[in-house]
């Protein structure tokens, strides 16, 4: 076979395997990936800037929408920072309810991932069955919070909905069924040739590399890095729960599968403890509308890893600055490392194995202009003008479109 040398192929931003836009530049030699680079920034939504223009109450719902899967994680990470600045003493019952939703969310996220992983390796049977069982936890989340997605449980100073004893019964019953099914999936994943052969040795990150690349969450734990914010820097009431950090020393996608399945079992035991030990008392404390000046950093172990929120308050109803570091940003740089020396066909599952969430990750806009010296930061107005000029120079003018849309809206 002739040697074509190195071939570069761009994959994405509209990627066949992923639902979110992200661009990968893959260098191939034959079928082997020799180099890969990841380019993000196709899904920037301006959430941080948007948060500055809204009140804290409104921001809860905005930051919750950073992610559709770990929405409670972002909401809680944000609200923890706000409550810390305001010096609020959140009731213990509220903390327990937040943990309950947090763990149910982790179960939902990991079962979802298991299905996606099955799909990416062509094992769609696993997808169908794990997603059928995910319905159980979705229904539980709906029973607790009211809705299946975007639980909106948090408010400044506590939670918005209580858990009564009938609901606690339902949760325990649901968890029993989920545990039984998860045991079955653990058995499938430790027996099924398709899974083991397809995932072992794929997307390897050694223990040393995991430490060097600063990966987080299940990706780190699957390389034997026992890091979990719930243990390392307990928030809510995680220090009152008995659980262990699930790790694996497989260092590959198979290890990441085993870690997530193990974490499901831990979460079930935690949910049981939470329901059993739920303290009595109020679920909110009165919170001021204006948060005193100050700043706080809050860490939260989201299903995908450590989620960091930074909030700076200036004494008004609106935050001065909100900064979000979603777990995928920490894991994304490891992806190009993982892809190296794998076959092109392994690319979808290697990327999926960090459970990426690209729209959660896209944050800052920083534009380097070659003609304006070393570093130039654009303010809001100039950035907007730059955007309009950018498209005009390419023959796209949205002015007329905007006008006609406005006219149509007015007519309605």
């Amino acid at each position: 076979m002739p040697d074509f040398g190195n071939v570069q192929i761009p994959v994405g931003p509209q990627h066949p395997a992923l639902k979110e836009p992200e661009s990968f530049l893959i260098t191939l030699r034959g079928e082997k990936i020799t180099a890969a680079s990841v380019r993000m920034g196709y899904n920037h939504r301006g959430v941080e800037k948007g948060a500055e223009g809204r009140t804290y109450t409104q921001d809860i719902y905005l930051v919750e929408r950073i992610c559709g899967i770990c929405s409670h994680s972002h909401g809680t990470a944000f609200i923890q920072a706000v409550e810390e600045i305001a010096g609020l003493d959140v009731p213990r019952r509220a903390k327990y309810i937040r943990m309950l939703v947090g763990e149910l969310e982790r179960v939902h996220s990991h079962l979802l991932w298991l299905g996606v992983a099955g799909h990416e390796i062509g094992f769609d049977t696993l997808l169908m069955y794990s997603w059928r069982d995910r319905e159980v936890v979705m229904d539980l989340l709906a029973a607790v919070s009211g809705n299946r997605v975007h639980y909106s449980m948090n408010t400044v100073g506590g939670v918005r909905r209580d858990v009564d004893s009938a609901l606690a019964e339902t949760i325990l019953k649901g968890v029993d069924r989920l545990e039984e099914q998860t045991k079955y999936y653990i058995q499938v994943c430790s027996e099924e040739t398709t899974v083991i052969k397809r995932l072992s040795g794929v997307g390897v990150v050694t223990h040393e590399d995991a430490l060097r690349l600063l990966v987080v969450g299940p990706t780190a734990r699957a390389s034997g890095v026992a890091r979990d914010i719930r243990k390392d820097d307990p928030y809510l009431a995680y220090d009152e729960l008995d659980f262990k950090i699930v790790t694996s020393d497989h260092c590959d996608v198979y290890g990441r599968t085993l870690v997530r399945l193990g974490e499901l079992m831990e979460s079930y035991s935690m949910i049981r403890q939470i329901v059993k030990n739920m303290p009595d008392g109020p679920i909110t404390v009165k919170a001021p509308r204006k948060i005193p000046a100050g700043e706080a950093l809050s860490r939260y172990e989201a299903p995908r890893g450590e989620d960091v929120h930074y909030v700076k308050a200036n004494g008004t109803e609106k935050p001065e600055r909100v900064k979000v570091r979603a777990p995928t940003l920490a894991n994304l740089q490891a992806v190009s490392h993982m892809l190296r020396d794998n076959n092109l066909a392994d690319m979808p599952i290697v990327i999926a194995a960090i459970d990426p969430c690209f729209s959660c990750t896209d944050r800052a806009v920083e534009i380097d202009r070659a003609d304006s010296g070393p570093r130039d930061r654009m303010d809001w107005g100039r950035l907007r003008a730059h955007g309009i000029d950018f498209y005009r120079s390419r023959g796209v003018d949205f002015t007329e479109l905007n006008r006609s849309l406005t006219r149509r809206m007015k007519k309605l």
């Binding site: 409104q58 696993l126 029973a143 607790v144 009211g146 027996e191």
Partner: protein, 148 residues
């Protein structure tokens, strides 16, 4: 033991099982008790404080004064994110989260919900102009006072 077809038993068993999917829309869903669906307006409770408008993250609700202590409500169902924060913010329980969830429509008119003000007390109604009907679609709706 590593073997292929570890899920084969489940597959066979599923043939004899009821499908896991729901027969929607033939069979309706029962919404959970806490469900946050379309927001309803109980006109007689409203005092026009506009706390709901102030806290709404999506700018989806508009309360307008139509007479002495009479307020009407307008919702943009396309903007509403069904967080029910307005229900929590309302001091007079004039808003409620209903279990209506089938809100999609074929045009934007169907995404507007309008709740009339409570009828004026008999003495006042004589003095007042004809009770305000829902404005015709042609009439431009004045921009809401954001109250922020």
């Amino acid at each position: 033991m590593i073997r292929p077809g570890a899920m084969f038993g489940t597959l066979i068993a599923s043939v004899f099982r009821k499908p896991a999917t729901h027969r929607y829309p033939a069979a309706r869903f029962e919404m959970p008790a806490n469900f946050r669906g379309q927001i309803g307006f109980i006109a007689k409770n409203c005092i026009g404080c506009r706390m709901c408008m102030r806290d709404c993250p999506a700018d989806a609700i508009e309360i307008r004064k139509v007479g002495e202590k009479r307020f009407e409500a307008r919702f943009d169902l396309g903007r509403c994110i069904y967080c029910a924060q307005c229900v929590d913010s309302c001091p007079k329980s004039a808003l409620e989260a209903t279990d209506r969830y089938e809100l999609a429509g074929y045009n934007q008119d169907q995404l507007k919900a309008f709740f009339e003000a409570a009828p004026a007390p008999p003495a006042a109604s004589a003095a007042q102009a004809a009770p305000q009907e829902e404005p015709s679609p042609k009439e431009p709706v004045p921009a809401p006072d954001p109250g922020k």
